[in-house]
Amino acid sequence: MSEIPSDLRYRESHEWVRIEDDGTAVVGISDHAQGELGDMVFVELPESGTSYEQDEACAVVESVKAASDIYAPLSGEIVEANPMLEESPELVNSDPYGEGWLFRLIPSDVSQIESLLDAEAYAELQED
């Protein structure tokens, strides 16, 4: 069984979001998603300063198996892409909720978080 931290919110397409104390939102992919995709070999991240609407494709993760689009779980402006992933995409596999985070954004409407799944609902989704 994959790990699903209870303090995060999830998109059905397996992205997770964590709202930090400074109000920014960190985004990554779930343990379940990295397990399904297999070893990561390339991550294409959005540039700082670009803005995305909720549900817009904004990044690509490529594993040995396939390329997958990553969708913005919240609308907002990108402020940082994980600089470690260019050299070490495997961090997405080894630490999907920690060092393997993808990008950080400033949400333009933090109430959108309510439209995302909580841990329990996301866990149910995986059981289906």
Partner: protein, 361 residues
Amino acid sequence: MRRTPLYKAHLANGARLVNFGGWELPIHYGSQIDEHHQVRHAAGMFDVSHMTVVDIHGPRSREFLAYLLANDVAKLQRPGKALYSCMLTEQGTVIDDLIAYFLDEEWFRLVVNATTRDKDLAWMERQGAEFGVSIRENSGLAMIAVQGPQARDRVASLLLASDATAVAELKPFTAQHFGELFIARTGYTGEDGFEVSLPAGQAEDFWQNLLATGVKPCGLGARDTLRLEAGMNLYGQDMDEDVTPLESGLGWTVAMKDDRDFIGREALESQQVNGPGRHLIGLVLEGRGILRSHQRVLTDRGEGETTSGGFAPTLQKAIALARLPVGAEAACQVEIRGKLLPARMVKVPFVRNGAACEGIL
């Protein structure tokens, strides 16, 4: 789905299983990339029991295969010798690729792909009728490929001392029976090693014994990246019944020097007159990104397409096989999700015996 005799062992080893042409087989046992490196640097083993073993019996077996196959079984003079060949349609296109083993004058063994089993057997039956040969699938065998620089020593360590000496002396592309084991010095990884066929009932013990000597289980995922680095074609992906061996980097496997009559010869000869317009060649992506199959390739002589692509763990670069116009400049572009990225054509293999080949990096 069909399961091999090693199914339980795969579960016990933590395999992630997938449907591969109707067979439930491991894609990896944790990390595909670790398994890839294991084979390049030490020894790994693959369950390839899904491969189809076909035994050809009868006094006219050699004559039949000389007609059936594009490579010439006349090259097989010593018992145990193996030959890689395509089996072609009358149009010269590829029905399957296979390995033929010469066991004795009345017994040859073919190992063909699992995904093409039914059409291969039907084609052989049809062509074999006039030669009076018996064509029988040997479905009672399991097959384990043990590959990597330490593979041969590991296998030898499991045999009787007298057999161990003989197996150590087995030449590349040669096979021999050792009791009920049929050991061939062949593989699909670009590394040294053996492919061992054995009675299904003995497969699990043999697998566990290999595990105990330090050979790590590897899945279909690593098998695919290893063969791609080794520049070896995958049937159904890099060639099929729409292309000839001359368009698939396999001209070297077609024996046309003498006047032997074989299926597809006429078509290949007429294709040779003008030269095939396309050929299969290696690509290395210059920058960051991943090559996949069916990406568009732009050259100065027109367009082509990747047939297999992926991240090459040994090279830490993206590589592909691509079918491209003959005579194009090496510098080309590949379309990846709407962007054109620079790539370079290279001669395959990309990797042999653990290291990048000259001109690849």
